[in-house]
Amino acid sequence: MHPDLELTAYLTDALAPAERARVAAHLEACADCRRTLDESRAVLAGLAGGAPAPPPPDWGRYRAELRARVQAPAPRAWWARPMPAVLAAGLATAAVLLVVHGHERRPVELAAVEETMLGARLPLLEQYRVVERLELLEDLEAIRHLDRLGDGGR
């Protein structure tokens, strides 16, 4: 098995002695790995030839800007920042509306849940002769627990 991953580490001298010896032994026997090693060495040597120099900044201006940034008060965390009055008023109004309308919607949501539960029981209810004509029953509450009745209930 070729020590692909270790070849770069071999060149950057990042291997433990035992690992290094193992890679060296493999290199002696493997021409492919020697070729890869040579190409990788050329890449690293090329990079070592010198990184491009950035455009030199005006260090006086750089230090002046840094001085100004250091002297400026540290920005507060977003949750500690003062909120604009309009935004605060809007959020308060939204909260009030949510509370009021949330209560109003609740019975509607509960009714929907009850309908769903009853709908799920319909196939079971239809097994009972007494309720074959569901549409004739006005009070569904009366049959809510029919599924718990024994044979005597039929």
Binding site: L5, T8, A14, V43, L44, L47, P57, W59
Partner: protein, 200 residues
Amino acid sequence: MGSWTPGATLTQESSDEALCRRVAARDESAFDVLVGRYQGRAYRLAWSLLRNAEDARDVSQEAFLRVYRTAGGFRGDARFSTWFYRIVVNLCLDHRRRGRWWQQILVRDDGGGDAERALLERQPAPGADPGEALGGKQMTARLWAAVERLSPQQRAAIVLHAQEELPTSQIAEVLKCSEATVRVHLHRAVGALRKIVARE
């Protein structure tokens, strides 16, 4: 902030770690010395990762600002340089992540392309001088231009290794990952550079 004049001799001779402790105690002359020692490295590293002079200036200044404000959190068991490099690299990676979404919307030349082109244009045309040294310079320019196409983590690893000459163990501390992960980053970066250069 004080006068921002070079610190006293005692301060100049102090270790980075000692200076950082003094910065934590709001010693502005110590901060001044630290800035003097690291401004070139911080700016160069940021530029290598961002390839934009304005961004590099902004990010490197931000790194010093972080040092000034959070020096109290610096653990004395680590080297200051490692801690500082980590701040710079993290800020650069954050900067690139933040910029990505709008760069996809606005087709903007952020100077990176210019930097690459300028770098290549400064090199003599192929064949102008068949000398060995010239070929080496061209190869170096091409390789560093290709570094810009690596993934952010690979680029950070290769810049810290080849430019800042940090050992794998220190790169791992800067990138906050294992040495094995750094080895993978470097291996993949070198592999990608081999292919890019071979194609050109």
